[in-house]
Symmetry: D2
Amino acid sequence: MIVVMARGSTREQVNDVVARVRGLGLDAHLSEGEERTIVGVVGAPLPPTLDEMLEVHAGVEQVVRITKKYKLSGWDFHPQKTRIRVRDVVIGGDDLVIIAGPCSVEGEEQTVETARAVKAAGATMLRGGAYKPRTSPYEFRGMGRRGLEILARAREETGLPIITEVMTPADIAQVGDFADVFQIGARNAQNYLLLEEVAKAGKPVMLKRGLSMMLEEWLLAAEYVMAQGNPDVILCERGIRTFEPSTRNTLDVSSVPVIQGMSHLPVFVDPSHAAGKRALVPALALAGVAAGADGLMIEVHPSPDHALSDGAQSLTFPEFAALTPRIARVAGAVGRRLPVGEALAAV
Amino acid sequence: MIVVMARGSTREQVNDVVARVRGLGLDAHLSEGEERTIVGVVGAPLPPTLDEMLEVHAGVEQVVRITKKYKLSGWDFHPQKTRIRVRDVVIGGDDLVIIAGPCSVEGEEQTVETARAVKAAGATMLRGGAYKPRTSPYEFRGMGRRGLEILARAREETGLPIITEVMTPADIAQVGDFADVFQIGARNAQNYLLLEEVAKAGKPVMLKRGLSMMLEEWLLAAEYVMAQGNPDVILCERGIRTFEPSTRNTLDVSSVPVIQGMSHLPVFVDPSHAAGKRALVPALALAGVAAGADGLMIEVHPSPDHALSDGAQSLTFPEFAALTPRIARVAGAVGRRLPVGEALAAV
Amino acid sequence: MIVVMARGSTREQVNDVVARVRGLGLDAHLSEGEERTIVGVVGAPLPPTLDEMLEVHAGVEQVVRITKKYKLSGWDFHPQKTRIRVRDVVIGGDDLVIIAGPCSVEGEEQTVETARAVKAAGATMLRGGAYKPRTSPYEFRGMGRRGLEILARAREETGLPIITEVMTPADIAQVGDFADVFQIGARNAQNYLLLEEVAKAGKPVMLKRGLSMMLEEWLLAAEYVMAQGNPDVILCERGIRTFEPSTRNTLDVSSVPVIQGMSHLPVFVDPSHAAGKRALVPALALAGVAAGADGLMIEVHPSPDHALSDGAQSLTFPEFAALTPRIARVAGAVGRRLPVGEALAAV
Amino acid sequence: MIVVMARGSTREQVNDVVARVRGLGLDAHLSEGEERTIVGVVGAPLPPTLDEMLEVHAGVEQVVRITKKYKLSGWDFHPQKTRIRVRDVVIGGDDLVIIAGPCSVEGEEQTVETARAVKAAGATMLRGGAYKPRTSPYEFRGMGRRGLEILARAREETGLPIITEVMTPADIAQVGDFADVFQIGARNAQNYLLLEEVAKAGKPVMLKRGLSMMLEEWLLAAEYVMAQGNPDVILCERGIRTFEPSTRNTLDVSSVPVIQGMSHLPVFVDPSHAAGKRALVPALALAGVAAGADGLMIEVHPSPDHALSDGAQSLTFPEFAALTPRIARVAGAVGRRLPVGEALAAV
């Protein structure tokens, strides 16, 4: 860490900073330039908020952190790309993984039918919400336990592993009885106690990016899971909040290569929540794959016009079936493979 | 609700929309213009996601919601400004309420000393965190139960009611044993199950605005509390996330008059978290009062340079004591009163 | 246009609105519901700011515009996709167009050498700045006329048409003597008088998206050019300003399919300015193509470490040559063709 | 400037950076820690883009600029607050300055009448647009020269100095024949050649903040004026673009104290453009004054319902007359004076 003293800071102020640093068991190196004095802080480990502590000292102009705040999620700590096995599916490997399914589980027929359709079209995991976070308390909030049972039934029928959202610690045990992967939604992305509790359940966790989360904050949220001894975190970009109203959120497709430069964790793209409109989903899905995403998460519904949630952004079965061969071709163009891709691409 | 059909939509598509509306027990009025057909939806109550349901119908260009999604928090439902009594303090009345105290409870001496200092300077409530949400899992996360006991001790000494954050449902009972007001932090502002559980504890709830929450979403989060039968919600603007890096967040001071036009709930301003820098706190505090806020929440610490969290934005005792008379004068200029204001303003 | 009167608005207020509408030579249809009265405005053409005019009337709650503000750039006006011929290059057709070259023209050797290298790798147009907008007045601001002459020399050598930025009306004639396409930079995207003047020069205009421009505003800026009788506008997405600091700007890749739904104008993606970092350019370029962009604009420099501007985001010759075959493959996967693509893709 | 080399950077990469620095006539000091090597760059003046130049070198992780890019606008260069005399009005002194008037000059009667009304209520300068930037080319764009003549007539009648917008270099001479202060609008805030040309006209320039301008960029735009030898720049905060749709823009009231910490230039607040809605203007005006603004710019119109532009955000005469005594009281509370304030405050 480097502390830049303000022009005109006093000798006493510099000494204060040095004393503070040394009081913490660290060492301080002084470098006095013509205009400014710079204090280099050496030693490890640095307290995580050392920059804040030093910034408030009188005479300090700027504190520059050199080491990153995230550790377990960074390449320094784990120089191999993380691969996560979920039943027969490998996430983070050469194969692109497509998770598809309805926003909400609304009934057994709807869910099993969707599972069959998305599997036939190339999806290798099933999504579906049994507990739904809704902006308004007056909206449909999911079928709860019955929804989980239906998901399990669909898995039995198709063999697709299932991912479903958990919203509060009290539900973790129950959701864990059914889910293969826990999903933490965007609104809970900084619900730290939920992250810690879900980590302890010992299953992989997909962590959606919060609407206004910087990438470093996202990795630090992943650290909450990993610091509990659970290394299996999957990140999922689903759009951020910006001034542009024509999409529900703004898909930050750059987050894919940037995260891949910072972290060994797999990163997915959810074009459905980013777009908010069915017609845009294919273009964003293809863009995500071209940018290097390890997988996609796409909402599909047998009859989106009658969905109880997110119908506007859900694909129909034929739309999804028309999209996957295109995904397979783009995946191939960037050196990835969609497992059933050869067959599909030949369509 | 008004459904605008696209230019060139077919008779059949219009009929479909009308059938859907009628199928929900509502009525539909058709108005056929030269260029477009418009379907007016009449009846009550409208399903909360009716706009989403209709938007996805083929041939629909735009759906315009006329009634608001929020109900209990709006003026239509409750035409008097909400006043909340917390021990001897009235929130939402003519008197401006200043809540002050340390970011984190770090010890009994620190907390009691701060409580005395802020009371002497004009504060009427004490804040202090026993459970702290931190961006990184490696930072100081609060003293927990011991912190709550210390807050209670400070209340005993000074008579100041206390407000403190609760982060997860499992802590509600314990926090409720001590706190006069529950605080829900910005990162949990859309943690809906926490909102519902905390509501049931039957004490007032201060709901901070999430970093990327639109105002309507903020009121809908308040509805989660109110729909449980707890009408005592206090809103607190603490800055939103924008592109501007010179402040920790961007204080959206306009939210004060806009919310006051939408809702009867009291609204506070937290200049400390918005600014992120001590030197900016006074200007933002005064701006908040001038904009009409019902109160302020300000971080104060006996020795900010050594605070375990948020030191950079905490005022010292003398800084806070110098600010409150200025607050009293601005409050007076806009027709509010700081209870101990006359004495202070004479300083 | 639909005017929704507030609940409790008076008969007189409704009459006022109707009178205003009729006073403008338009017709007004009243629809009185149980809760609210709605005024439909019929007739054409509607004054462009009619919504603003009506919003301010007492008793009005909301005004909903149904027809779009943009005209010439919309599909209604021009139902065929715009194709623009620039010497031998067709923009907006089946072939993907890659524009490449240095940020700034720095000398003849640098520019001609770059032109040859990018042509060999598959680019079909040359970019290069002779007049550079710089955030600080103390930075290198381009070679001016000499830069234009160098670009013309590079065109002579390679046959590549050239595109270069014009920043002020006084330079239009001179830039027009050399350029095949005028570029309007992001900072001038709402410099309306420049747009009108450049339109009159009768050459195609590439209009970069402003850092905080909504898509409708972007099309309205294009209308400034088109309303002068110049239909040849190319849009170029280059990232918007958001809270995320890890990229120079946030590439809004969704703008490609959204604009293509609104407008017949070709839309390009500039991954270099969006990323701000060389290592991210390939992923963003591929994402742009996968999302359906009609072309790319990429910065390439013989020695980026020594570039006078934007070196950090410029590709080297080998990097660019390694990228174009990948672009060709993704283009092929989404049904586009890079003219020299077959040869490249075989590499 | 400090160059932080990446962990694992080679000796050769460090040497390269040092050689580059020395090749520019500067000196480099090496500090080799256990984990990383740091290169301190010493000497003056540093090339303005030195950080960009060094960032692209192989092995460099981060470059930290210590000196600020802005010079003339900073306190280091000019340690006294800038005061600007415009006829009898002093901007940047103890007195708060209120500029008021219509968005557009629409006729002589409208303008002169408004000038009289705002003067009577406490305004000391008159605003009015003769050349109007409009988002759509199909809207009213101002009366041009005739509008300037009308403004001059209103000045003759009332003695109020006038400020009006100039949009393109070709209009500078003509606008300069009438205006006391040039206004540069938000959309032209980075139209650098306009800034340089307007600077040469030798009159004060009010520079509105661009919708997505960071504060440092705003000061750098001011430098474009000041570097031409014109020190008389007034900054004006008018809201930035964020995700929040309830106001036209988000007033960044923090920019007032932050800019005052960075720069000696006076800073105004324009509550009308920030709010976009008449009812919010008073709260934002008062907040701006409480935050320490040197003045306000407020839109006032004799009959806002019939204004040709920005009617929704313009105050009526009685509304403005009711606001100024409140402004005077808040100004007094924060140690500023509204010249006619005593009389008004007594109202």
